[in-house]
């Protein structure tokens, strides 16, 4: 079951395989628990955010890049 999870969550499993998987899950609380924890882990990862751009970084980088591309242009 574990190996099917990535395709199952991605909606990429064949309909027959999904039906077989669902049938198994109805009788296997261990696999249901595993599926739930796997799925919640993916949701938790999706909830991470890396958008806090340090203050002044954008301008500082732009200034630095301007100098560097001037040098790069001179070499072109």
């Amino acid at each position: 079951v574990t190996s099917l999870l990535i395709d199952y969550l991605g909606g990429e499993l064949a309909r027959e395989t999904v039906a077989t998987l669902h049938k198994h899950l109805r009788d296997c609380p261990d696999c249901v628990a595993f599926l739930n924890t796997y799925r919640t882990t993916v949701q938790a990862t999706r909830s991470l955010r890396y958008e806090d751009i340090p203050a002044r970084l954008k301008d500082r980088l732009r200034r630095s890049l301007r100098e560097q591309i001037k040098r790069a242009s001179a070499r072109r």
Binding site: T41, A44, P54, K58
Partner: protein, 229 residues
Amino acid sequence: MRTATFETRLGMTGKRQPGATDIMPREVGLHQADRDEQDLIRRLQAGDHRAFDAIYRRYFARVYRQVAALCRSDAEAEEVVQDVFLAIYTKARSYRGEAAFATWLYRVTMNVALSRLRRLKRNKEVSLDEYLPSYQEDGHHQVRPVVDWSPLLEDRLAKEELRGFLKGALATLSPLDRAIVVQSDLEGLSNREIGAALGLTVAAVKSRLHRSRLYLRGKLAVRLGYSPS
């Protein structure tokens, strides 16, 4: 009752959330905006500094977000972002227009970032095996019953707990595996797009993504007091 819980949850998740179109410019479909961008790219390829500035302003936040998720510090992210934009400037002529500019830019970002992170030679990468599930010969889980700790995880996340821990766990993956998880689960790119950017087959992307997810699941399980199995 567990079955009911499982079936109820089926409708809650859907497929990937942000959608594969996330790397596409928001302006797609607006012809004038497309023409403006094409003009900008032509000027960039000719070495126009103002065009570079405009590209920088337009894509900085997106590049930064993707790079920051791969790096372990703001300083490291800053260096990588700088490398990425320098590469965009110096490699602009290699953009042939076969894919959307945003897609090309994403590939450059990943290539530069991974190359840089691999050179850093940081601490040895951790072995994932310790946190992967194990099974008995008959296919049953090694440790039974498997505890469904997902409600506990949801509760802790709702209280803004564990996000730092999860970021830390993500940071222990190899740069390549981290890139795959970030692009798939944070950026919502398809396995095909990720494979194209990283030079991997779709099967390889899926295999690495699945193994990384199992590892993160195992890390969370242990953190919450349960077995990774």
